[in-house]
Amino acid sequence: MTSYERMLAAVLGGEVDRIPATPIICSASRQVSEISYAQWATDPDLATQSLLQAQELIGFDAFITLFDLSVEAADFGQKIIYPPENTPYPDYSNIFFNDIKDYHKLESFSWKRARRMKNIIKIIENLVALKGNEIPTVGFLWGPLGVVGMLRRPNNLLTDMVRSPQEVHRALKIVTEVLCEYAVAQCRAGAILVCLDTLYASQSMISKNMWEEFEGPYIIKVADAVRKEGSIVLLHNCGDRPYFDVQIKWINPVAINFADLPDDCADDRELKQKYGNKIILIGNIDTSILNLGTPEEVKAACESKVKSLGGGGRFVLSPGCEFPPNGPLSNAQAMMDVAKNFARK
């Protein structure tokens, strides 16, 4: 099977020749092409080349177009800092919604007029044009709450949700309009799978009820826009104790990439039992092992995970979050070795 066939079969619950695996190599790919983080994040052609070279080296089963969590916010007008060797981040000394009244200055726009979103679309187009038949390209969007958090700063957003919910809802509505159009553009560029980041649906951030009030009604629109284009909706949630139940209720994703056990499961066994038939599980190797462990330690962790979650299929081996940008790529190869080895057993 090609990676494309394998990943598609896996997320649709079909037979696969081996366990599909994606170490979520995103910015770590710049290590192969020896470019800076800032170049990788801002130059679509260099980023495309990096991802292609990394895939050739490591052999992972999907391109994931997770760049950084500032992509959407940048195009709404948030000033972003691009460090040479670190993840881009909002300039909090110059925050877009400096005051609660600033929520009113938010305006909808088309991704076609946006620099960073347009770059991501170009990268998806490039990857699909060059490798579309062999490797699937996964689109990626920060959820509406995440985007508003980058424009307001998360601590301010979190208190605004209690004190000024109407203002937050207004911003979420506008952000969602833009995200829907951006999601459609990702699908039309060739992303057969689109991943929505729902960090706020976890105990790291807010209560389940609050998430249902503030993100559920918005993110479902983005998910529906993806499905209407014929693409498949995945979720990425690297928070502590994510809320699988309400995310499934609102978004109905095909698969969830997660770092921690859901809030209603005590261990992998319960997770597999409770959710293994409802969704495809994608995860959840600890990124600290990928960052600081040896390839042998990574292999041991991956083998253990395949045993606990891989039984009966409906599983993709991956980390709980992006492969550490400066982590050793030999650890990504170790993850792929385990996936390939399990095919032969």
């Binding site: 993840t87 909090y92 601590n155 790291s204 951030m205 209560s207 502590d240 809030d263 400066n326």
Partner: protein, 220 residues
């Protein structure tokens, strides 16, 4: 002011913190100030007791970030009213120790660090908060200048994890008499061991317990 009235107002402070009712806390604090009630008693039995309950609720995941952030803001509002122009020293819980805290260089996330800070302050620690995106050398300078016994480092990102290792190395190589505790989304107990830190805290509650244990040797 009658004693039962004072007790009611202090209870109003505590409940106001727990229920994030800023109006109630402000009103009670102003009444207590105008009645010249012992500020320390009001702070400890009202505001600090309220924050302890909030910390417990957060630890049990009965409340989440929005609630604890608002309670923290209200705590400082009440504290400023009750202390008047005085310094905080002597008004907060009896000092157990001092601690330097900050998010390491390259990481601007300070939400978790700020929650650890308020929990430490309401548990008897004087906190030297260096903020976010703090260079390793600044931690070391602060430790040298203050002679503080513990430094707490936070990071959310894998890209900045090695900054923690750098700080541990600097503290050890310069033979500073400080214990190092680390935490944040990118950190695990295994990483704390690998970096030879003195401890790992999974959350704010755990950070307070760990800091107390390092200072007093007690589990609580």
């Amino acid at each position: 002011m009658a004693e039962n009235q004072t007790t009611d107002l202090i209870l109003q402070l505590k409940r106001g913190i727990i229920n994030y009712d800023e109006t109630a806390v402000k009103a009670a604090a102003h009444k207590l100030v105008s009645s010249r009630i012992d500020a320390k008693k009001a702070i400890l039995e009202g505001l600090v007791a309220g924050m302890k309950s909030v910390g417990e609720l957060y630890d049990r995941k009965e409340i989440f970030l929005p609630e604890i952030l608002i309670s923290t803001e209200i705590f400082y509002t009440g504290l400023n009213i009750l202390k008047g122009g005085k310094k905080e020293e002597g008004l907060l819980p009896e000092k157990i120790g001092e601690i330097v805290i900050g998010t390491v260089e390259g990481d601007i996330h300070d939400l978790g660090k700020n929650i650890v800070k308020i929990m430490l302050e309401t548990s008897g620690f004087v906190v030297h908060d260096l903020g976010a995106n703090v260079p390793a050398e600044k931690f070391v300078d602060e430790l040298k200048k203050s002679g503080v016994q513990i430094v707490a480092l936070s990071t959310m990102m894998t890209t900045t994890l090695m900054e923690m290792d750098k700080i541990v190395d600097l503290v050890h190589s310069q033979k500073l008499n400080a214990r190092i505790i680390i935490g944040g989304a990118a950190v695990t107990p295994e990483i704390a061991n690998r970096f030879e830190a003195d401890g790992f805290a999974p959350n704010a509650f755990g950070a307070v317990k760990l800091a107390k244990r390092l200072i007093t040797g007690n589990q609580e």
